[in-house]
Amino acid sequence: MSDQIILRVATKIIVPTILLYALYVQFHGDYGPGGGFQAGVIFSAAFILYALVFGLRRTHRVLPTWVVRGCASAGVLLYGGVGLASMVMGGAFLDYGVLAHDPKHGQHYGILLVELGVMITVFGVMVTIFYFFAARGREDL
């Protein structure tokens, strides 16, 4: 893959665009189609594309395994943490209304955090699965 200058340059241009688009999908999900699941998948697709063109070794340097593994669990913890926080604030589990003075604002915060948790988990899980499939049977990694 080292001589494929066209693919490398194109990937270098496309990958940041995909990452930016994933963030747009994530944070615009309240107003249009989108949300945590889609954003997580698109975000991971950017890294998978990078790995397909530049190789797994360089991708590991950009995004080490422990980071994605941590992401996969951190998202679920964030989700559950929002639920616990709403319990601590005096509501029911995942009752976001109590997170702020105005129940509507509380719902906004809750949805934002929960969707962020979903995105982080889905991103971590997809990249982890890809890493394990791609690294299988290769001694040099």
């Binding site: 309240d30 189609p33 949300g35 995942l94 719902q107 899980v125």
Partner: protein
Amino acid sequence: MGVLVDFALLAFLATTAIAVVRTTNLFAAVMLAGIYSLLTAGLFTVMDAVDVAFTEAAVGAGISTVLMLATLAFVGSRVKTPQLRITDISAKVPVRRPVFPLVVVLVTGAILIWGTGDMPAYGDPANPIHHHVAPRYLEESEHEIGVPNVVTSVLASYRGFDTFGETTVVFTAAVGVMILLSAMRRKDRFGEERWGEESVPDLFRGFAPTFWLGQDGRMRAPPSQPGEEDEGGTP
């Protein structure tokens, strides 16, 4: 107009599905599955499910295809047919004509199609599903949640428990893949190749499974000491 697009997409879908059945090359089958997913995404758009279409296009045509291709890199893309023997066992295990499955499928399909006679017509506003909880979501979401995209508000707020469960399932799937694929063939410090329990991801080291998969894929008891390579090693 929408009906025409709907019909065309469904016809494409049926054709692609038949092509997946007929092809004997797994590589082609995986690519056809990607096309199938993309057509499904188009169909979801026609059916007003833009969020779902988005997800299907990203997941089905993107990630899923990549994972399938990664698998094919290990298992090869050829399928055993009456003409093509792959391994030396293939010559001894004959390929049978699947007649019985065809009968089962035809009977099941006929019964299901008979059952559609009682279904409400496609797109009918009087469909019972539209008179249960959905109207409440659509009417109250604006006052209660204040998010224009009702799918997001239902996903994250009204049915937050559901999504929490699904997120956990996704995470669990990653754990499963890690455990299945982390048993790397690697050299131990005595220079012997073996499938090592040391490759269980560090994340699980604390509660490492009490079994490990030996080279022949059967479950074994873990070697009692890391030093006793001869007992726990490769057969």
